[in-house]
Amino acid sequence: MSFAIARTIDEALAGLAAGARPIAGGTDLVVGARHGKAPLPDDLVAIDRLDELKTVTRTALGVSIGALVSHHDIETHPLLTSIYAGLADGSALVGSPSTRHVGTLGGNIMNGSPAMDTGAPLAVMGAEVELRSLRGTRRVPVEQLWVGPGRTCAAPDELCVAVHIPAPPARAGSAYVRLEYRRAMEIAVVGAAAVVTLADDGAVATLAVALTAVAPIILSVTGLDALVGLGVSGAAAAVGEMAATQATPISDVRASDRYRRHTVGVMARRAVEAAARRAGGETIAIPVNRAIGIGAPS
């Protein structure tokens, strides 16, 4: 057993190559170990001091978010809360204020839970994950990253160093909405993210929707091209039905499959509606969950 604090990315990669697991905030890892889901890995390399992985950089193509950028950073970052609002919606809903300070974007997506709140927004935004090892660097679209509940295609020696999100086109907006039984401290029962681009006439020009916690991995809704040209409300209603149809939810202590199937449709519709409002130039506060509907402050 060993524990090392990496001072550089290369030190971290060397640790991974030697069989250690990375730990950043440790929220998933330590809680999981205490609950007996999986024992704490014998060999750990702490990556939480790699400051070069904590930056948000605007690039020619979009934005690069370091893997160690925290949910709190995302939910308060001026660029991310405006142009990539759907991601900020997701980060702002993660756990508690402390979880959002400690928890990182890299940790969230590499944990691979189908209930992760940043997964669906990243999927609809066409994000890519940058995986690095001593062997080299590769980029993987997030939708190919997740291969099952808690499983990714990353090799054990690969470290997620950044997430790259392409710049959205003009008149685009995004949103992430989830079903929650309380206004805080929730885990997604179901959720949905949408990116909507509007044509000059207000009709839907492009549309992407992904769903949380209704399949073994984040599920991208297919067949949305057929909705291009529809008005927002028509497209949103259709997306709701398609989401409910394509979802393959389970029944568990949080909800029945039947209820999940219904509510993921509702969430998908609301995500499209909110994304379209943002695409139209409207500012909806982060997270959209608390700004609209039942979660709104009284």
Binding site: I5, T27, A33, R34, G95, S96, P97, H101, V102, A184
Partner: protein, 165 residues
Amino acid sequence: MTDTPIHAIHLTVNGIDYPVAVAQGRNLLSVIRTEIGLTGTKEGCDDCECGACMVLLDGQPVNSCSYLAVQAQGRAITTVEGLADGDALSLLQRNLLDEGGVQCGFCTPGMLLSATALLQRNDSPSEEEVRIGLSGNLCRCTGYTKIVAAVQRTAVEIRAAARQA
């Protein structure tokens, strides 16, 4: 399990340097409560759901039940014992008592730390911001009303003090 390495590390708690020897899997909470000997930080669950174990790590709120002690090396750890200035309670501690925001007191240390962190990053939070800021700290006694009032009153008083200074 038996060959778990013991790491000799230093933890800085409330400004004091403590050399401690801890096993790799030990969480920060248990080290603070045993080796460091400060029991104000409480354990109410074991999965970041109650907030009783909240400490500040470099000023940010952290659930110490789910944070490895070895990871806290070199960071400034603040516990509830570090909030008062000698015998003088902090404004927030005083207001929490004065507003009636303390009943059984078990959530109180964590609540104070979350509120301290909140006020450090935002000295004029709205009621909604206070409520979200404290949402990771469960209280079963108070219904939160008087806790929220104490935080809001503290914000007002901090701003007034800043204007005078």
